[in-house]
């Protein structure tokens, strides 16, 4: 509400936290209090666990939580996207059923968008949902699904009308992952990890009340989820860090984070571990090689200027000024940084770059970098897609003539049925 001031909000939340925060509470018990108080998601509507606080005042609340060390609502994993999407598009019944348990962390979620045939092209989904009797019957395959193996619910994008155009024939569902029609298989990657799953849907069932928005609105709802995912990507690091303080609530939060972060344990290597470049250079003596010094410097120029570019973007946002182009570039430059770092780690390792595991530098960390970095320029939108986005959205360059958005989707050439 507009009459809120920074001072009034700070006083109010501080008072409430001092009265209620107790690290010895169970995590769910505490979060239920938090949800009831409205301080868990203060920017949310009052009707749904919030206080309609303006964005500018949220940092104040966060500061007070940090000051006292209070744990917030569950942010780890897909549940935040689920909550945000349901809040935006869900029915009261869906909000009733899912919002609180997502905020308390009792429910875990996964995202069922990507398919083998539609990687860059999410809207090209061919997973089929048909209304039989009063139930939706779903058949198809999804991939790149993180944590599907311990998700209770899935955010499902499926095609419900093949005569409509690509983006018009999609619908969005909440699907119960604990049912016979849903089979989850780990998907092994070239670096040996299996962070993702394939999900096979065979006559899987969805209750009609779990359709989100209307039939045919699937793409609009999906973009909401994806928008929150993009925003969240940056903050991933922040919520990935649990506190090391003692207390039951902290213990339970650490466990929650451990589970959620498990698939991501190689992500630092995926990014190239720029932090290891100078230490390794000193360790290997590369630091004294003029040629290597140049290569190291090139990488530092890239990573520092990227860091400062991100900071420019943040500062602009904080000052409420329109974000310039610098905001859209982070993903693309991170690919350059990761590749350059991998090249350097290889050169510094020399013959040891042929080894892995205990036989190799840093017990396999360097080796893991070399076989993980290729994911950076693919996951979450390939470099090519990023360049298209920058060209079209930032530089306003013309889109390519579309080959698939106008005609009925059943007539669109696609994998398998080209």
């Amino acid at each position: 509400m507009s009459e809120n001031t920074e001072a009034s909000v700070r006083a109010e939340v501080r008072a409430w936290l001092e009265a209620n925060w107790n690290p010895e509470l169970g995590l769910v018990e505490w979060r239920n209090k938090l949800v009831d108080s409205g301080w868990g998601v203060p920017h949310w509507p009052r009707a749904w666990y919030g206080r309609e606080l303006s964005a500018g005042l949220i940092p104040v609340v966060d500061e007070e939580f940090q000051r006292i060390g209070a744990i917030g609502v569950a942010k780890a994993g897909i549940r935040t996207l689920a909550a945000a999407t349901i809040l935006a598009h869900g029915t009261d019944l869906q909000k009733e059923k899912f919002l609180r348990r997502s905020l308390t962390g009792e429910d875990t979620w996964c995202q069922l968008f990507s398919e083998p045939g539609s990687g860059s092209d999410v809207a090209g989904a061919v997973t089929r949902a048909e209304l039989r009797g009063n139930q939706w019957v779903v058949n198809g395959q999804k991939v790149w699904t993180t944590s599907a193996h311990h998700a209770d619910w899935g955010l499902l994008l499926a095609r419900t009308d093949w005569d409509k155009a690509k983006h018009k024939g999609l619908s969005y569902f909440i699907i119960d992952m604990h049912q016979p029609g849903v089979t989850v298989q780990p998907l092994r990657q070239m670096n040996g990890h299996a962070s993702f799953n394939q999900v096979f849907l065979t006559d899987a069932l969805v209750q009609p009340e779990f359709l989100v928005a209307n039939v045919g609105d699937g793409w609009a709802v999906t973009t909401t989820t994806l928008m929150h995912e993009r925003r969240g990507a940056d903050s991933l690091r922040s919520w990935a860090m649990g506190s090391d303080r003692p207390g039951r609530a902290y213990d339970e939060e650490r466990a929650e984070i451990a589970t959620t972060m498990e698939p991501y344990k190689w992500y630092p290597q995926r990014a190239g571990r720029v932090d290891l470049i100078l230490p390794r250079a000193r360790e290997t003596g590369a630091i004294d090689d003029p040629v290597m010094r140049q290569e190291i410097a090139k990488l530092l120029v890239l990573s520092k200027s990227a860091e400062w570019t991100a900071r420019r973007a943040r500062t602009a946002q904080e000052q409420g000024r329109p974000q310039g182009p610098e905001g859209s570039l982070g993903k693309l430059v991170s690919s350059h940084i990761a590749r350059a770092a991998a090249r350097l780690h290889t050169q510094m390792a020399g013959a040891n770059a042929m080894l892995t595991g205990e036989d190799s530098p840093m017990g396999g960390v360097i080796a893991e970098i070399l076989v993980s970095v290729p994911a950076t320029s693919i996951a979450g939108g390939t470099d090519e897609i990023q360049r298209n986005i920058i060209a079209e959205r930032v530089l306003k360059m013309p889109r390519e003539p579309s080959a698939d958005t106008t005609k009925p989707f059943r007539d669109v050439p696609r994998n398998g049925v080209a």
Binding site: A297, L302, K304, S305, W308, E326, L395, M397
Partner: protein
């Protein structure tokens, strides 16, 4: 350190841009670049009378506005963007910088107001035929004579050295070597025994001169034998300021190339609709934004007195060198045959990118300087 431009700074920038768009179109640059001087007193006076640009970073105590590098670099970025032909960099960054870093209070009182008002055009003569940008490479000697000194030797690659009213000279005491025995001196442009020759420059908008000193009478600037540190500081400031000038030019090239691609039709479509063009433009945007961030951050680091500023300055210059040149190469390519013609403006920035690439040391040089600071 937080860095971004305040509303006031943004307004200063847009006023400046409007002014330069009116007063310094490339038509004007093309006219001035054909002259040996490369600039004209009248235009220079207008520049300072109306916007007081020469005064920006000079403290109020010496007749300036007392702004920081943040504002000074905005001016340089806009000048690099407009390809303004004026002795601004030589006067306000190099000469004024040396005086501020080395001069005594009395000397600042004496020399800076003239620069602030725009009456004095000044230059810094430090590099010699060997083209090395480090003070230790100085061979020109200063011999005490009476109250003052006499300079003998040469300087080269002196920015606007053939037209400056006042020349700050880096010289060494006879028999000294390395960074010891270095001192700054001031000499009037028309001093007896000083022969000045304009060099033929590839970038006709950036004039350089070679100076011959034959027993030229000179006044000591600052402390005798103590110029090494202030000179290094001046070179650090120069690297940051040039980096900002460069990103201004790079962004202009990028924007012009984009505008051309948007209107140029081939095969029945704007070439901007071809994916390879879109991706190239995206890459150009990325490179230019990164270089801008580095240049802006370096300017902020100077104002904040960041201990790391030397390394950050070299980072910014290295980044700007690679980016400006790469952007210029792309810009010519995007314009196609037209971009290779004399009548198209692209080559003016291409040549400025080339001269900026090596001025004060190229990217490899600055990457090595950076590593000396960070890898040690």
């Amino acid at each position: 350190m937080k860095f971004s431009f305040s509303a006031e700074q943004e307004e200063f920038r847009s006023n400046l841009r409007r002014f330069l768009t009116d007063r310094a179109p490339t038509k004007e640059a093309r006219r001035l670049m054909e002259t040996e001087a490369g600039w004209e007193r009248d235009g220079w006076r207008a520049l300072n009378a109306e916007l007081g640009l020469t005064a920006v970073r000079i403290p109020e105590a010496y007749g300036g506005h007392g702004f920081g590098f943040g504002e000074h670099c905005i001016v340089l970025e806009e000048m690099g963007r407009a390809l303004l032909c004026a002795p601004y960099f030589a006067t306000t960054v190099l000469a004024a910088g040396a005086i501020l870093n080395a001069g005594t209070e009395a000397q600042k009182q004496a020399l800076l107001p003239g620069i602030a008002s725009g009456d004095t055009v000044a230059a810094l003569a430090s590099t010699e035929d060997n083209g090395i940008w480090e003070g230790a490479a100085t061979t020109l000697t200063a011999t005490p004579s009476g109250a003052g000194y006499r300079l003998t030797g040469h300087k080269s690659f002196v920015l606007d050295g053939h037209t400056a009213d006042l020349i700050v000279v880096l010289a060494r005491a006879p028999g000294t070597s390395g960074e010891t025995g270095l001192s700054f001196f001031t000499v009037p442009g028309n001093a007896a025994g000083l022969t000045r020759r304009a060099l033929k420059t590839m970038d006709p908008t950036r004039k350089l001169a070679r100076l011959e000193f034959q027993d030229v009478e000179a006044a000591l600037l600052g402390e005798a034998g103590a110029a090494a540190a202030p000179f290094r500081r001046t070179m650090t400031e120069a690297a940051v300021c040039l980096a900002n000038e460069m990103v201004g030019g790079a962004e202009r090239l990028r924007e012009d190339a984009l505008a051309y691609a948007m209107m140029r039709m081939q095969f029945g479509r704007p070439i901007a609709s071809f994916q390879s063009m879109k991706h190239k433009q995206a890459d150009m945007l990325l490179e230019v934004e990164l270089a801008k961030s580095a240049a802006y951050y370096a300017a902020a680091a100077l104002d904040d007195g960041d201990a790391d500023v030397a390394a950050i300055a070299s980072l910014a210059k290295a980044c700007a060198s690679d980016t400006y040149m790469q952007t210029a190469i792309h810009a010519v390519q995007i314009h196609g045959g037209i971009g290779f013609t004399w009548d198209n403006d692209t080559h003016l920035w291409f040549k400025r990118a080339k001269s900026s690439e090596v001025l004060f040391g190229d990217a490899s040089h600055h990457r090595e300087l950076m590593m000396r600071n960070w890898a040690a």
